[in-house]
Amino acid sequence: MSTTETNHPVLELRNVSKTYTVKQGMFGKPKPLKAINDVSLSLNRGEVLGLVGESGCGKSTLAKILLGLEDPTKGEVRVDGEVIGATDRRTLARRIQPIFQDPYSSLNPRKSIEDIISLPLRVHNIGDSNSQDKAVRDILDIVGLPQRVMRTYPSQMSGGQRQRVAIARALIMKPEIVICDEPTSALDVSVQSQILNLLNDLRAEFNLTYLFISHDLAVVEHLATRVAVMYLGRIVEESSVGGLFDTSGHPYTQALLKSVLTPEAGKGVPDTELGMEYPNPIAPPSGCHFHPRCPMAMTHCASIPPRPVPTPEGHVECHLFDSENDHNTGAPLVREGV
C-alpha cells in the first residue's frame, strides 16, 4: 500500500467505557471501578499515538480492549470504520498486533524462534509450510536478526534479540496497527535505542500505525506524532507532539513533563508539586479527578467535572481553559494536608 497519512481514521474509539466490579473483603459490597471512563480517540494511518499516565490510569485496559481481549462496557471501537465486536477476534488479530513489555516472559521458552514467529500464520492457516518458512526468513531480515536464530530458543538470546523476535511475531501478519506496551522499558539503554530506531524504520517502511504506551516521556516525545495523557480512566489532554511538549496545557501534563529527568548535571531533582498519592480508582475524587493534587485548583474544581475544551490540535479537560464556564471565578482552592 502506498497510502500516506489520510484523514480517514484507521482506529477510532467512541465513548468507550470499561467498568470492573471490585469486591472489597469477604463481606464487602462490590463496587464499580471505572478503568476507562468515556474515552474517545481517533488515530490516522501512519500516526504514532503516545499514551502516557501513571500506573493504574487505564492504559493497559485500553490496550486490552483494542486487542479484543476485553469488551468495552459501553461505546464502540472501530477499525477502518468497522465496529469490532461485530467482527470476530481472528479478523481483528490480522489487523492489530501487540508487542509487550517484557521479552523474557512474553516468549514461550519451550518453542524455537521459528515456531514462535510462525505461530500466527499457522493459527490463521495462511500459506503452506514452504511459504511460512519463507515468511519467517523474510521477517527475520526485516527486524535485523540472522537466519540462524530460527532453530534457537529464547533462553539463548539477549533481551534486545528477544524483543526483535516479539516485533517479528507481531509484524508477520502484516497488521495495520501495532500496540506497543512499554516495548523498551525492560531493556538496557544501548539496546533501547536500537529497538526504537527499528520501530521507527518499520513504521516508515510499512506505513504502520502505533499506539505507543510508555511511562518514559522522553521516549514518547521522540517517537510519537500525537500524545494522549490519561488520568483515572479519562484522557485529560490530547494533542500533537509539538502542541503537547512545547505548549502543554493541563496541570497534570505539566507535572508529568516536569518529572522527566533529563541527563543534565547540576539541575537537581524537580519538584512535581503533585503532593498526594495517586487516588484510589474505586473512590475517585469529586469534580475534576485531579483536583486534590493540582497546584492550580480552584474552588469549583472540587465539585464540577471539567468538560473537554477543544484546542488547536486536540482537546484538554480543565477548568483553566474553559472560558465559557461562568464558574470560573479564579478563586484558588485551599488544599488541606499536603
Binding site: E54, S55, S158, G159, D188, V189, S190, Q192, S193, Q194, L196, N197, N200, H215, D216, L217, A218, V219, E221, H222, L223, V241, F245, A255, L256, K258, S259, V260, L261, T262, P263, E264, A265, G266, K267, G268, V269, P270, D271, T272, L274, E277, Y278, G337
Partner: protein, 331 residues
C-alpha cells in the same frame, strides 16, 4: 573528617562457574566522603549490584571477593567477620533494594519490620522504637503513619512500599546508604518524589549514599560523583558535571547518544547505538573490555589500558589520550 568514610581499592569479585571463573568485577577503586552521593551507572551484567553486595558482605559463599583496601570509617571490611558485619548492617550501613514487593516480608506488619533493626542494634524499648517508626514514616511523607504500622506490605502501593523501605533503612541513622535501583519500578512522578526525599534526607543527616542505577537522567540529577561501569570495570569516574558535560570514554559518550534528550535530540531522528554485545567474562579478560563494540578501537586496545586523568578527580581508562582515535577529528 579528612579521611573518606568509605575507601575501596582494587576490589575484585570472581564467581566460579562451570567452565572456569567469571571475572565479574576487576580491580575497581573509589572512595566516598560523608554527605556525598556516588552513582554507579552501567548496563545489566556490568557488576554494579555485585559491588554493592560486596560492600555489605552479602555475597554468596562461593563468590570470591578480594581487595587491597576496603575500609568503612577505619574498619577493615576485608577482614571483618560475620559478627562485625551483622553489627554494621542495618545500623551504620543500610541498603534499599529495587523491588519493594519482594524485599519486604509479606508475613510481618510494616511496624514489625521497621522496628526490627532498632530493637536489634540499640538498647531501646518497644515504645521508643514504635515512636521512632512513626516519626520516620512521617518524615518520608506517609500520612496516617500510626495506622500504617499494623498494615501488611500488600496493603500498600508501590510508591508507599518504597517509602517504607527508605524509612526502614533510616531507622538507625546510618552513615552509609546503598540504594540499588530504588526507583526503577516506580512511576516517573513518584520517582521524582522519592529521589528528592533521598537527596534531602541525605543532606539533613549528612549521610553518604551509593546509588546504583542504569538511568542516566537519575544520575545527572542526583550524583556528586559518577562512576561508569562496563563489564566489571570502572571505565570513567568524575563529578556529574565532568562526566555529563565532558565525557571522555567512548562508552560514556555512546550511552549519552543512545537516549533521546528533550530539546536536544531531533524528534524522530535516528538515535545513536552501541553495536555488539557485552563480552564473555569467563576466563582471563585482557585489554579494554569495550574494544569489541568501540568505534575508536585500535590494536593497542588488547594490551594494558592506562588510567588517564584529564582533570582533578576526573579519570578514565582508554588507550587514546582524549578518548578519541585522532583528537583533531573529535566530534
Amino acid at each position: 573528617m579528612n579521611s573518606p568514610l568509605l575507601r575501596v581499592k582494587d576490589l575484585t569479585i570472581d564467581i566460579p562457574v562451570g567452565g572456569g571463573t567469571l571475572n565479574a568485577v576487576r580491580g575497581i577503586d573509589f572512595d566516598l566522603n560523608r554527605g556525598e552521593t556516588l552513582c554507579i551507572v552501567g548496563e545489566s551484567g556490568s557488576g554494579k549490584s555485585l559491588t554493592s553486595l560486596a560492600l555489605m558482605g552479602l555475597l554468596g559463599g562461593r563468590i570470591k571477593r578480594t581487595a587491597t583496601q576496603m575500609e568503612f570509617d577505619g574498619i577493615d571490611l576485608t577482614k571483618a567477620n560475620n559478627k562485625t558485619m551483622r553489627a554494621l548492617r542495618g545500623d551504620r550501613m543500610a541498603m534499599i533494594f529495587q523491588e519493594p514487593m519482594t524485599s519486604l516480608n509479606p508475613a510481618f506488619t510494616i511496624g514489625n519490620q521497621l522496628m526490627e533493626a532498632l530493637l536489634l542494634h540499640r538498647n531501646v524499648g518497644k515504645e521508643a522504637a514504635r515512636a521512632r517508626a512513626i516519626e520516620l514514616l512521617e518524615k518520608v511523607g506517609i500520612t496516617a503513619a500510626e495506622s500504617r504500622l499494623s498494615q501488611y506490605p500488600h496493603q500498600l502501593s508501590g510508591g508507599l512500599r518504597q517509602r517504607v523501605m527508605i524509612a526502614m533503612a533510616l531507622m538507625c541513622e546510618p552513615e552509609l546508604i546503598i540504594a540499588d535501583e530504588p526507583t526503577t519500578a516506580l512511576d516517573v512522578t513518584i520517582q521524582a518524589q522519592i529521589l528528592r526525599l533521598l537527596v534531602d534526607l541525605g543532606r539533613e543527616m549528612n549521610m553518604a549514599m551509593i546509588l546504583i542505577t542504569h538511568d542516566l537522567g537519575v544520575v545527572a540529577r542526583v550524583a556528586d560523583k559518577v562512576a561508569v561501569m562496563y563489564a566489571g570495570e570502572l571505565v570513567e569516574t568524575g563529578s556529574a558535571e565532568q562526566v555529563f558535560n565532558a565525557p571522555m570514554h567512548p562508552y560514556t559518550r555512546g550511552l549519552l547518544r543512545c537516549i533521546p534528550q528533550p530539546g536536544k535530540t531531533e524528534r524522530g531522528a535516528r538515535l545513536g547505538t552501541i553495536p555488539g554485545i557485552v563480552p564473555n567474562l569467563v576466563g582471563g579478560v585482557t585489554g579494554c573490555p569495550f574494544r569489541t563494540r568501540c568505534d575508536q578501537a585500535v590494536a593497542a586496545c588488547r594490551d594494558a589500558i592506562p588510567h588517564r586523568k584529564p582533570a582533578e578527580n576526573h579519570r578514565f581508562r582508554c588507550v587514546h589520550e582524549t578518548g578519541h582515535q585522532i583528537a583533531e577529528t573529535a566530534v
